[in-house]
Amino acid sequence: MSGRLATLRGLGVTYGAGPAALSDIDLAIAAGERLAVIGESGSGKSTLALALAGLLPDNVRMMGSIAWEGEVKPVPGRDIGFVFQDAGASLNPVLQVGEQVAEVAQRHLGLNWREAYAYARDLLTQVQIPAPDTVLNAYAHQLSGGQRQRVAIAAAIAARPRLLIADEPTSALDTIVQSEIVALLERLVREAGMTLVFISHDIALVSGFAERIAVLHQARLVEAGLTADVLRSPREAYTARLITSHIGLDTPRLVGAPA
């Protein structure tokens, strides 16, 4: 599916009196694509995610523009789903998780509570939570980190948004759960034709499913292109450094045989 979802032109964001968090970002997001935004701490990657989702606080200075397809500004929750890094913090600790997922459907899809709960149960099955009926009535602290993130994903896709933004959704999870969550996200966006913007610091992790990679470094967009191109022939030295910093199972070890 071709067609532009959003175009960022000269986007800049500054919080209060400090240095710019984002500076002069030009980026086009195609509808239905899987785009990975890679950066280290201080690169501005989270700010970019929040800016796209319309979640920036009121007292930021924004320059440049985000133009959406069809000129209609998307409604957060309905047109854009957001998955945060810390699922524990994005879920309300005093509400049952089923209610939190159902609320999205009730509010944005106009379902009544009974329909919304049934829908929520389906969603929990879709995100591969075993025993969804039990989990509907559970509280966030009763679930493991991976399960919490699955619930957060369910809530994010409940209103069938066009765009799903995931801000380091697996950085707080161990590698085994991480690979499961990444596979889940990839499957969900493929099946629903959603656009995925996946923020991460791990270029190898995203190389398995992202079609395009955008690299941020100190508030600037350093490089953007097809995954294969960026990984095989990075144009910028910083991108090359990110790639060589990856430690895999075939990277030469730093220690030899035991003494």
Binding site: E40, T175, H201, S207, T227, T251, L254, P258, A259
Partner: protein
């Protein structure tokens, strides 16, 4: 030759809110002087509990730890404090590991002061020497910890662990919170210090690839038990336990073509 560290049958159960959680179940390991034992496992496998038990931050319910031939678990008070010179720890979050009000010099001065390694007058010189060993500039000494970068902070944490000249350092997810471009430098530093001083490491991480890069031997944990252990290459190339196989499969691979290498 007796192993530097030997644990036998360590067990630890926590009861919280009426539920009992087995954090460690009959854990037995050995570590030779100057070598690195990598400890991997999914979250909840007990790695951090084992780290805390090894450092006597938590007491095990059963089992014993022998360090350099002494029954470490039986030590108390002054005897325990004296041995602490020889076993140190580096934590995951470099910011949380320091007193929020401390400067670099304060943090490095603590172990020197506690063990009488340098009087007030010799301390600045010793702090400078430690900073040099971890590749930091001398003028960092006066800076508050919260003002320096994450990578610099972790170097200070390593310098603090080195201050007493330990034989063993436990590193609990010590590079997990660092940027990838910084991570490699810290790993290089650790390996180089090991070569210079013959320090043994227990390197804990949930990232198998990082553990493989710096360890000689690996122990794989799951739900409080050691499910597999052995030389790094054999465990990684030929994993026997389900956990080890899952960990190997979960290591992100650089796919230079989308869809390539899909197992």
């Amino acid at each position: 030759m007796t192993a530097l560290l030997r644990t036998t049958g360590l067990s630890k159960t926590f009861s919280s809110g009426g539920r009992r959680v087995t954090a460690l179940d009959d854990v037995s390991l050995t570590l030779e002087a100057g070598e690195t034992l990598g400890l991997v496992g999914p979250s909840g496998s007990g790695k951090s509990t084992l780290a805390r038990v090894l450092l006597r931050l938590t007491e095990p319910d059963a089992g014993r730890i022998d360090f350099a031939g002494t029954d470490f678990t039986a030590l108390r008070g002054e005897a325990l404090r004296r041995i602490r010179r020889r076993i140190q720890m580096v934590f995951q979050d470099p910011l949380a590991a320091f007193n929020p009000r401390a400067t670099v010099a304060d943090a490095l001065g603590d172990p020197l002061r506690v063990h009488g390694l340098a009087g007030r007058r010799e301390r600045p010189a010793e702090v400078a020497r430690l900073l040099g060993r971890v590749g930091l500039a001398q003028d960092l000494a006066a800076r508050p910890i919260h003002e320096i970068s994450g990578g610099q902070r972790q170097r200070v944490a390593i310098a603090r662990a080195l201050a007493t000249g330990p034989e063993l350092i436990v590193l609990d997810e010590a590079v997990s919170a660092l940027d990838v471009t910084v991570r490699g430098q810290i790993l290089d530093l650790l390996v180089s210090l090991q070569r210079q001083d013959g320090i043994a490491y227990v390197f804990i991480s949930h990232d198998l690839a990082v553990v493989r890069a710096v360890s000689h031997r690996i122990a794989v944990m799951d739900q409080g038990r050691i499910v597999e252990q052995g030389p790094v290459q054999s465990v990684v190339e030929n994993p026997q336990s389900a956990t080890a196989r899952a960990l190997v499969a979960a290591v992100p691979r650089l796919m230079r073509q989308v869809g390539e290498d899909r197992d």
